[in-house]
């Protein structure tokens, strides 16, 4: 399958008919799910603020006062959203979800390996993974693009713009 630019607007009746299953349809509305997550996060914020941070007084609020207040307000909004319900999930097919996970994994790999492997090796590996494993591009163009980008961007930023970037084994 040819990959390319994102389609901007509108879908044909034919493409709607052939639409893959929507993996975002989790049986609970978007607003309710998001509201519950926000309320849970808010409860955590408030609990940490109360347990670990000084509240101060009315005239001199301490370091925990603002987070506690924000936690309570966020919790209120979260519960209101959950109570209100409604809100549809934007359609997501399995292919998009799988690709999104792979891209996030690539970003996670970059975060993990960046300082240990250095900029050039990490970027080359990340780009090669995305082009070969995710996009199934031919090996030679994919490797050439990965090498060109990782080496070229390193030269542009590290040498010309003097942005310090990590080097990996053997100073590479």
């Amino acid at each position: 399958m040819r990959r390319g630019w994102p389609r901007p607007c509108g879908r044909s009746a034919r493409s709607r008919a052939a639409e893959p299953p929507n993996v975002a349809a989790l049986g609970v509305s978007a607003d309710r799910a998001a509201g519950l997550v926000l309320a849970a996060l808010a409860a955590g914020i408030a609990a940490i603020a109360l347990a670990e941070l000084p509240m101060g007084s009315w005239a001199r609020p301490g370091a925990g006062a603002a987070p506690l207040g924000l936690g309570l307000i966020l919790g209120g909004f979260g519960l209101a959203l959950a109570w209100q319900g409604g809100g549809a999930w934007e359609a997501t097919d399995r292919a998009e979800a799988g690709r999104a996970l792979a891209i996030l994994a690539a970003a996670g790999f970059a975060a993990l390996a960046f300082e240990a492997l250095g900029y050039r090796l990490t970027m080359a590996a990340m780009l090669a993974f995305l082009l070969l494993a995710v996009e199934r591009k031919p090996v030679l163009p994919a490797l050439a693009w990965s090498a060109l980008l990782s080496l070229g961007s390193f030269h542009a930023f590290s040498v010309w713009l003097r942005v310090p970037l990590p080097r990996g084994p053997f100073g590479f």
Binding site: W5, P8, G62, A107, G108, F114, W145, L165
Partner: protein
């Protein structure tokens, strides 16, 4: 008036220095690319280039970032017209009639009118910025902590009320951003809040990883793997001149778009997006041939393109005069100023006249650069669109990683970026806007300090926010906006 002209002369002496000129051109060029490419809006583009600006003087850095912002407004129109693909959200309306014109063989005229309208709107709006910002800053110098606090509350509420989606969702995102802004060492007491075992969080959650994650990574996650579009045909240079009739049909639209865009730009919110939508609606309403809209009416290109550029300029008024960003992009620009040791706020124009007036003058120059760059080089820019997105998005991801790491030299920020990307993607799927998160994150320290200082002043009484007339006015306006926003839906 004489003083303004003298200041402008000072500005041009700064703007026409070789270094400022070079970075102005670089910013405009990058901005045009960023505007054309889906997955890289102006916010992600500015965030990515933020680390590069650290080695520059504050004026040069601000000029380059503003060039990216402005250039993106220009660049977004190219893909909208040639491919019906809005490279930037504000260019969505240009798709409709711009692409219809392209199908009729008038792509050159549509591109030219978009560029000319953007130039006229950008230039006239700068006059507005120049005349409005200094008196507004003088007024704001009279503000104490309660007024500052009330003004920030008003800004956040207006953003939520004016945004495209649900007010409740926008407010929730704003509060989430405000909470993220409290992470790190408390400026007033030195307490480390929400450490989670990471000393790197001492300086707080960085704006760059959050902005790049929420906008850059989330956009890549949503766009990668979508089907291939038609390949654009590049109009020949001789096709770029509109007919006399097309000029006549565009003149009024450009004028109306400029005024409307500038006024909307001053108001917090996704100004340039709202402005282009509002302009299209107005042009259709005032047109004697509304049935031509959607079929290639040139006013449908001229109005929105002028409006989004004027709004981009209007959004700089509260940022430069008050230090209050009216949206996520000015917020990132404020962060850049802070990194350079420049305190944003009402004293900026007084304390840093060379920066403010140099910036204004550089914007005039930047408008000319963009006009000169966009039309003759449209073929060059279009070549970039021939690169398949499957090859391009890994490169964009690599630049996201590079930009975030370069800003802080911390791998923790890369994790924050990836996390923000995942959260941004999820929020997008659930129909949430993420710009309020960024704005909340930027404004959080200012708001918290103003709030705590106000309470210290009043010995803990919240009446301080309604007893002082200016603060009370802002609070009332915030309440009215909130009620209006709720009722609108």
């Amino acid at each position: 008036m004489t003083e303004t002209l003298a200041n402008l002369a000072l500005g041009f002496s700064v703007a026409l220095s070789p270094q400022v000129l070079i970075y102005c051109v670089i910013g405009c060029f990058i901005g045009t690319l960023v505007g054309m490419l889906p997955g890289l809006g102006p916010l992600a583009g500015i965030s990515l280039l933020l680390p590069v600006s650290f080695g520059l003087s504050p004026t040069v850095a601000l000029v380059m970032l503003a060039g990216i912002y402005y250039g993106a407004m220009y660049g977004g129109s190219t893909t909208s017209i040639l491919m019906r693909l809005p490279g930037e959200a504000a260019s969505v309306m240009t798709c409709i009639d711009g692409h219809a014109m392209a199908r009729q063989g008038r792509a050159g005229a549509a591109l030219a009118i978009a560029a000319i309208g953007s130039f006229v709107a950008g230039t006239l709006s700068l006059v507005g910025l120049m005349l409005l910002a200094p008196p507004l800053a003088s007024l704001a110098l009279k503000f104490g902590p309660p007024e500052q606090c009330a003004l920030l509350v008003l800004g956040l509420v207006v953003l939520a009320a004016m945004g495209g989606g649900s007010v409740l969702k926008s407010l929730a995102m704003t509060v989430l951003g405000l909470w993220l802004g409290t992470i790190g060492i408390d400026q007033m007491s030195g307490f480390f809040r929400f450490q989670f075992g990471l000393v790197e969080l001492g300086d707080g959650i960085g704006l760059v990883p959050v902005a790049v994650g929420l906008f850059g990574i989330a956009e890549i996650l949503a766009s990668a793997g979508k089907p291939q579009l038609e390949r654009p045909r590049t109009p020949a240079f001789r096709e770029l001149w509109p007919s006399r009739r097309e000029f006549a049909d565009s003149a009024g639209a450009i004028g109306r778009g400029t005024v409307l865009g500038f006024l909307i730009g001053i108001i917090p919110g996704s100004a340039h997006i709202v402005a282009s939508f509002a302009s299209y609606g107005i042009e259709k309403r005032v047109s004697k041939t509304p049935e031509r809209f959607g079929q290639g009416a040139i006013a449908g290109v001229a109005g929105p393109e002028s409006a989004n550029n004027a709004a981009a300029c209007g959004a700089l008024v509260p940022m430069l005069a008050l230090g209050v960003p009216s949206g996520a992009i000015p917020a990132v620009m404020i962060a850049a100023l802070v990194v350079h040791g420049v305190a944003p706020g009402p004293t900026l124009i007084q304390d840093q006249p060379a920066l403010f007036w140099g910036f204004v003058a550089a914007m005039y120059v930047g408008n000319l650069v963009l006009l000169a760059m966009n039309l003759p080089l449209v073929g060059v820019f279009v070549q970039l669109l021939r690169i398949p997105y499957a090859y391009l998005y890994p490169a964009i991801l690599a630049f996201c990683v590079l930009g975030v790491y370069a800003a802080s030299q911390s791998a923790v920020d890369l994790w924050i970026m990836a996390g923000a990307g995942a959260v941004g993607y999820g929020l997008r799927k659930a129909g949430f806007e993420t710009a309020p998160v960024v704005l909340g994150l930027v404004l959080s320290p200012m708001l918290e300090n103003a709030w705590r200082q106000s309470l210290a002043m009043s010995d803990g009484s919240y009446a301080v926010f309604v007893q002082r007339p200016i603060a009370a006015g802002f609070m009332l306006a915030a309440a009215v906006m909130l009620a209006w926003g709720m009722r609108r839906r």
